[in-house]
Structure formats: C-alpha cells, structure tokens
C-alpha cells in the first residue's frame, strides 16, 4: 500500500514540477500504436517494395512504440523501444541481429554545455531524410523510396552548435548505418546545417560519408518544409548517394504538399522520383510514385486512408497472375494513436 501511495504522489509531484520555470523536467512518457489494412490491386503484399505495411488484404499490426525522456539540469536521456512487425521483423537491426524481441529507436544521452552548445552520444534516429520509422512522424502511412533506401538510424557521437534560432550546425562521427554496434568501426562522418530563413520555413542540409549500405559512400540530402499559410504546408526531400568503386547508390526527390481542408482533416500528396544508380555495369531501375493521403484526427487518434500508384519502365512490379508489370497500386487504411 505504501509503495502504491508513494508512486501516486511521486507521479503527481513530477507533474506539479512542470509549472515552474526550471531546467529539471519530469519523466516524459510518450509513444504510439498503429494498425493497418492494405489492399494491393495485384493482390500481392510485396508488390511495392518500400518499408513496412507489407501485408495484403489483412488487418495487420504496425508497432507499439514507447519512449522515455528525462532532463536533469543540463543532462538528459531518451530511450525509445518498439515492439511489433514495424519495429521488429521489418527493422534492419533486428534482421541483422538474427531476430530479437524489440527494436531500439533511440537510446542516447545528451549534455547541454551551454544554451548554444550540446553533445549527444548513443543510437539515434537518422538526421538524413524527410520520413521516419515512427508512423506518428510521417504524414503518409506508406514510405518513400528515399526513406527505404537511406539510413534509418545512426549510432555515434555528435556536437551541435546553435548560432541562433535560425541557424545551427551539427557534426559527428558515426558507426555504419542501422547497427547497434559498428561492424566496420567508427567509420563515418556526418554534418547537418539547419537554416530557418523565414518564419515557418526550415531547411536541413545533410551530408554523411563513410560506411553505409552497399559499401563506403557519401550521401548528400536536403530536407525542408515550409508552413506557408495556416492551411498549406510544402515539404521537399532530395538526396544523392554515391557508393565508391562503381558500387551504385541512388538519387531522387519527393515533394509533399499538404492542405488542411477542415479543422481535423488534412489532405496530402507525395510525388516522388527515384533512381538506383548503375552498379558494376548493371542498369539501375527508375521509379515514379504518387501517393494521395488524408489525415483525419480525433484527439490522439489519426485515421490515414491512402491510395498509392507507382510506375517503373523497368517493370519491377507484378500483375495478379504473376506477369511483370510497369505499374502497381494499393489502397490502405491505417489507424495511428499517439500518446
């Protein structure tokens, strides 16, 4: 009984502490749960080979994601774990580890040396790209080719200097992509320049060079979004990845216009062009993709109906009977609850 009462008062007191202008925050608990139904028009779950939502004609699970954060003085930590297909069997570190029971999304410590300068060490969501693993962080439920082929997470140590609210610079050293521990040593360097030229517009110019997918290479990435009006937002992601020694890579761009048609309803389009680079004399495939998505919000719950049409002249898709096809399409309905 005493323990229960102590726990209640401890939780209540941490919430009360919020009211003060203090550098010590209460323990933050947040996360999400997602589930989806997908119908591929060729009745194949893996027809469009981007990440997650891989089941056809099935009410399937995404993941439950739980994050903890605590800040005491200048030091803070974030620990975030996910369970479920999106966070386990469909996550790259889990496959690399031979299948574990969960996926670490973030596990790092941070220290603010000053209001401008901070350092972070651990395993972090990647600073490359527009989309993320967590469905809460994306407008579209399906993911882009740029997301699928880029890094998901980077373990490393990074330093960030904030010149002002409009400019900051990050530089760090990292392990190879998406691994809890390095397979080729601390072998990559990366940096990010953030600029916010006008109110509502933020741009990130990113570079990551070293051990990555397919070998050693360099990825340059531009991720930007601009809230032009209260209702209209425009996002852009463009990236180029070159793998050394004729190892290929990719290049592409995606545009994300979104318009709030009602208080709780926003419509968004994702138009993407993506190309694998030629590697060792093998021609890389080109893709175009258009995704129309709605976000319908009620409290913490977001319904995400979505139609996606992909095209590639290299015919990487399949028709219902198994013949190759230049086009693929799918409909999905996802429910994502954020807490």
């Amino acid at each position: 009984m005493k323990k229960l009462l102590t726990a209640i008062f401890a939780m209540a007191s941490t919430t009360c502490a919020l009211a003060q202008e203090t550098t010590t925050s209460p323990l933050e608990i947040s996360g999400s749960v997602d589930t989806y139904f997908k119908y591929d028009f060729a009745k194949r779950g893996d027809n469009i080979k981007t990440s997650f939502a891989s089941d056809h004609n099935s009410v399937s699970l995404g993941m439950i994601d739980i994050a903890l954060k605590k800040k005491t003085g200048k030091a803070s930590f974030v620990g975030e774990l996910s369970f479920g297909p999106r966070g386990q069997t469909q996550s790259i570190p889990d496959v690399a580890a031979g299948g574990s029971s969960f996926h670490i999304q973030n596990l790092y410590v941070n220290y603010d040396f000053t209001d401008q300068f901070s350092m972070t060490a651990g395993y972090m969501g990647t600073f490359i790209g527009y989309e993320v693993i967590s469905p809460v962080g994306n407008f579209n439920y399906s993911t882009s080719y740029l997301f699928t082929n880029g890094p998901f997470q980077n373990a490393g140590i990074k330093a960030t200097y904030k010149f002002s609210d409009k400019v900051s610079l990050m530089a760090g050293v990292f392990n190879d992509w998406n691994l809890y521990s390095a397979s080729r040593g601390v072998s990559a360097v990366g940096g990010q320049l953030m600029v916010a030229p006008v109110e509502g517009w933020t741009a990130y110019i990113n570079v990551l060079s070293g051990a990555g997918a397919g070998g050693y290479g360099t990825i340059e990435d531009l991720t930007t979004s601009y809230q032009i009006t209260e209702k209209f937002k425009l996002g852009l992601n463009a990236a180029n990845y070159d793998i050394d020694n004729d190892g290929g890579g990719y290049a592409g761009a995606a545009l994300y216009p979104q318009y709030a048609v009602a208080d709780a309803v926003t419509l968004g389009l994702r138009g993407e062009y993506f190309k694998y680079k030629n590697a060792g004399g093998v021609q890389g495939a080109k893709y175009t993709s258009v995704t129309l998505t709605a976000n319908i919000k009620s409290g913490g719950l977001t319904f995400i109906p979505e139609v996606r049409l992909d095209h590639s002249g290299d015919k990487p898709f399949f028709k219902e009977g198994g013949a190759v096809a230049p086009n693929a399409g799918q409909f999905s309905l996802a429910a994502v609850y954020a807490f």
């Binding site: 919430t15 947040s30 954060k69 973030n106 967590s134 809460v136 409290g299």
Partner: protein, 192 residues
C-alpha cells in the same frame, strides 16, 4: 484501501474543480486572464521594478520585454502546457501570450491576452517540438472531432496561466533585496 479510495476521490475532485474554470472574454471577444490586485504597502515605483524583474530575471527564458513606461510593462511570452494532470506525461504544446502590467499607487493590474496555441509533436529524436510556427487562437470553436482534445488544451492553458498569475502576485509582494540579505542559517555539529 479506504485511504487509497479517499485519496483517489480527492484527486479527482481537484481535477474536476480545475476543469470548471474558464477564461473570460474581453471587449474584442478574445480570451483574457485579468487581475486587479490591492497593494497598499508597496509604492508604484517598487511595483514597476519588481514587474520588470519578473519579466527579465525570473521568467527570462520564456518572456521578452517589449515596452516599458513609468507605470506599465508590456511583454510577450510562451508557456509549455501538458494535458496530463495526474500521471507523468509530456508537453502537448505551447501557448503564446501578450502580457500587460499597469501600476498605480496602492494597486496594480495585469492581464494576459492574444492567446495562441501551437501543438507539439514528437520528432525523430524523441523530443517534443512545435509542429508549426502559426498559432491557433484559443477562442476558436473546434470541430466535433477535436472538441475533446481542445477542451483539454483550454483546461491546461487556464491552469498554467493561473499558476503564472499566482507566481506574479507572489513575486510583486516579495522584497527580494531583504530576502537576499538573509544568510542561510549555519548549523555547527562541534558544540551541542
């Protein structure tokens, strides 16, 4: 077990009381938190100095002084709000406001208005950050789908602003010079 039930009921009643409080509206139909405070023992100049100190020292991280006259202080500020009351949660957004303070001999008044809400969303690193720079006026009438969430935001904003108002009144009633002069009591364990 009886004690536990009593405590839970007490906490719920506190929560219900908090939910019943609402913002008043000003002449322009905007939400306003307005207070007039009798302060017979403190001069107008002292009140003004303390109000400036509150903005520029005590709340310097979240407030910016705009203009000062010989009897008033105008400032802008933001406060982070959290919808969760009884358990550990996370920031759900921030409310920006305009703050006005006016002093006369024997009394002062202050108010917060132009309240705009900016929602937070968790970013890729697990931190809660603003999703937009464009705030939504707290007076807006939400649609049916978001009515419940908006009510929570209003409750949380009111509680946070009320706490801010209490802090401000305490700050203006306190002589910080005398308080600083008081030395911390030293206890010696050598003699007893």
């Amino acid at each position: 077990m009886k004690h536990l039930l009593f405590i839970i009921l007490a906490l719920f009643s506190i929560q219900l009381c908090a939910q019943q409080k609402q913002f008043s509206k000003d002449d322009n139909g905007k939400f306003i938190y307005y207070k007039v405070v009798d302060s017979q023992l403190i001069s107008k100049d002292t009140l003004l100095q303390r109000a400036k100190s509150f903005v520029n020292v005590a709340y310097k991280k979240s407030m910016t002084q705009e203009t000062v006259t010989d009897s008033s202080v105008l400032a802008k500020g933001t406060m982070v709000i959290d919808k969760t009351i009884l358990v550990a949660g996370h920031p759900s957004g921030e409310v920006s406001y305009n703050f006005v303070f006016e002093a006369r001999n024997g009394k002062y008044r202050f108010w917060l208005t132009d309240l705009l809400f900016i929602p937070y969303q968790r970013d890729r690193y697990g931190n809660f950050v603003a999703t937009t720079k464009i705030g939504v006026p707290l007076e807006r009438t939400p649609g049916k789908l978001s009515a419940g969430a908006w009510k929570d935001i209003l409750n949380s904003a009111y509680n946070k602003i009320e706490k801010f108002g209490d802090d401000f009144k305490k700050y203006l009633a306190t002589n910080r010079v005398e308080k600083a002069k008081k030395k911390t009591e030293t206890i010696s364990t050598k003699k007893w």
